[in-house]
């Protein structure tokens, strides 16, 4: 045979998608939220972001090196983890704690379980929770954003937890007096909180980009936010069906969690049905934690708890093959 051809199994063409491109898309989508954080909290927020991203990338490089495996820093997944972690931290966090968080996320949660796609928990969220229980004081030290001159430096959800929300009427003047942020302030991001969770507007902008690029589907975010809203509406008020669900959707990390964290590929189900279950579970757990526990915020815990259930969901939700949905006539 004079010719030496490449012989391979079909298909012989591939589209131009790549894992790296997907990660870069997520980074692009997170930029508005990061920019909003830097705008409202100043250069300090930028320092935190750089610290976690740097820590994540370096940790990834070193871990892969130690494990004698191919370096994976080029796939940008470590950058995504670092960015997500920073957006979940208060802007006042000491830089060294932020850096430790990055290392925890990559070394313990991601690489020790096999690296990209193998981790059973969202690395950024798991790291955040570890930091929260380890450095509770630093992790709950909130500052007011630019343009707000109030005495209270609580997050909107802490305000809600204190019962202030129930005590006042919904008249704007009463809200201002009680230091409760208005919907508009919540939407823009003029509230206390983690670097990246405050501006619903910026987060939704990025989310729209991810949806258009088909990096994420609408199943998890929609069911997650919808379920939380419904739960709060039913159980969150002084009497049933009076809960301020708009406040709860806009405040805290719900939008950040629903669009960017619960949709993490490695830790969410692969089928649409499974993803809807994931969204429902996250929504109910977030509602329960926010309304009935000592924690004002439940997004991180809810997502992490559902992460653990993902292998189970994927094991039991196996779709019927095409044509197998109904019996033969």
């Amino acid at each position: 045979m004079e010719n030496k051809f490449v012989v391979s199994s079909s298909p012989h063409i591939r589209d131009n998608a790549s894992s790296r491109r997907i990660m870069i898309d997520v980074v692009i989508a997170l930029l508005p939220a990061a920019a909003a954080g830097v705008y409202f909290f100043g250069p300090r927020a930028l320092a935190v972001i750089l610290a976690t991203v740097f820590s994540c990338v370096v940790s990834e490089y070193i871990t892969r090196r130690v494990m004698k495996r191919e370096s994976t820093i080029n796939d940008f997944s470590a950058v995504v983890t670092g960015l997500l972690l920073a957006l979940n931290l208060p802007p006042t966090i000491p830089i060294w704690i932020a850096a430790i968080g990055g290392a925890i996320a990559i070394v313990i949660v991601k690489q020790m379980f096999g690296g990209l796609g193998q981790n059973f928990m969202n690395p950024a969220l798991a790291a955040r929770v570890i930091l929260l229980v380890s450095y509770t004081e630093h992790m709950t030290n909130w500052v007011n954003p630019r343009g707000i001159d109030a005495i209270s430096t609580a997050t909107p959800l802490e305000i809600a937890k204190s019962g202030a929300l129930d005590a006042v009427s919904s008249a704007t003047s009463a809200y201002t007096e009680a230091n409760i942020p208005s919907y508009a302030q919540l939407f823009i991001g003029q509230v206390g909180g983690s670097i990246g969770e405050i501006s619903a507007l910026a987060l939704l902008l990025g989310a729209a980009y991810l949806l258009v690029r088909k990096v994420i589907g609408f199943q998890i975010p929609l069911t997650y936010i919808g379920t939380t809203a419904l739960f709060v509406w039913i159980f969150g008020g002084t009497s049933p069906f009076t809960g301020d669900f708009i406040y709860h959707v806009l405040a805290g990390g719900l939008i950040l969690g629903a669009f960017y964290m619960a949709t993490d590929y490695a830790t969410c189900p692969v089928t649409n049905k499974g993803r809807i279950i994931m969204g429902l579970g996250c929504g109910i757990l977030t509602g329960i934690i926010r309304l009935y526990t000592n924690y004002p915020e439940g997004v991180s815990f809810a997502i992490i708890l559902m992460n653990i259930a993902v292998p189970l969901i994927d094991r039991y939700i196996v779709p019927k093959s095409f044509g197998g949905e109904k019996k033969v006539a």
């Binding site: 079909s10 063409i13 796609g117 692969v270």
Partner: protein, 439 residues
Amino acid sequence: MLFKRFFKGGAVVPHEKNTENCETIQMGVPAKAIIPLLQHIGAPCEPCVAKGDYVKVGQVIGDSDKFVSAPIHSSVSGTVAEVAPMLYPGGVFVNSVVINTDGNQEICESVKPPNMSNSKEFLKAIRQSGLVGLGGAGFPAHVKLAVPPDKKIDTLVINAAECEPYITSDYREIIENSWNVISGINTVMELMGIENVLIGIEDNKPDAIKEMTQVAATSDKINVVKLKSRYPQGAEKMLIYATTGRKVPPGKLPLDVGVIVMNVNSVSFIAEYAKTGMPLIKKRVTIDGACVNKPCNVDVLIGTSLKEVFDFCGGFKEEPQKVLMGGPMMGIAQFSLDTSVVKHTNALLAFEKNEANLPSQSTCIRCARCVRACPMNLMPLNLNKSALKENIEDLKKYHVSDCIECGSCSYVCPAKIHLVQSIRLGKAIVGQAAGKGGK
């Protein structure tokens, strides 16, 4: 008629229909014809000629007494040089009849218009014609058309979707021989007692839709269905769903939902065969790919070597790195240019270096694009994992046998994992275990 109905999943693949305006060119007689005795799904044929015999065009040179098989005819006149195993496009050696041609193309006396006055005669004639599914699968047509008495077929679906990139063989048939297509459809309708015919064409071929709609207007039983251009629209189950709304259950055949699917070239051949009685000895093949000097559609005598076909199309611009028989999604990569064109060859593509080498695989990121792309609702990422672990139980749980190997999952995978390849392995593992009496 436009159906909004559409299967879930699939992939958007490039069309690359570069040869759609290339009128079919007749290619001459090769110096040597290598005709494999297996050009279909089913039992291989036994040779009915021996070394030194003189054979004529249309003469039966191989046949089998098995039901699922189709006779092989000589496409040339000449002397049999040998009957020996030769390299087959599938990469294996198959017993083949090698004929040194004399160029006279003397037609065999047995070639005469068949008697097709009832369905029994029709099936016999179809078998004698050697017709196999010309869409690419090569399933013997007389087997497909032999409907068990307890099944009622009400619809004939004509597959002209041609969803594979590059291939324009079906398209050219419609543009060049639309009356033959209609005539063949009428024959099948009449003799099979079918009342309703739907011709499915993807909407990226507006001229074919226009042409077919025009000629189909002669009968109110024949309708053209415009299909969304999305791969794998031409897969049998997807096509039946898009045209009729019926879903063929896993492990069942189209006739279980009252449908027979035939390729547009197959029905056109039936019309031609009814007129002349000349069996299946040639095939329109689309020649394309970056290395080919003159991409075109060629009528090739079966048994012509790939090398001669490419030479006929002006040879190569540069040495190809990969040669495919069939389209880039489901075609078979060739080891050599010495293999020959067979009955179900619909395209020959010669790829250059960049197209030939697939990108390297990385780890699965569980993005679930493969799950969304699978037209059969499978979970390719799980099948891949189970196959590599040889976990038979899981392979069955994730319905490995329902995979149609269309390649959509591999195509969309951002980690470039060879999903279909491992699923094929998975099928083999399950088949082997079943053969051993394992679970």
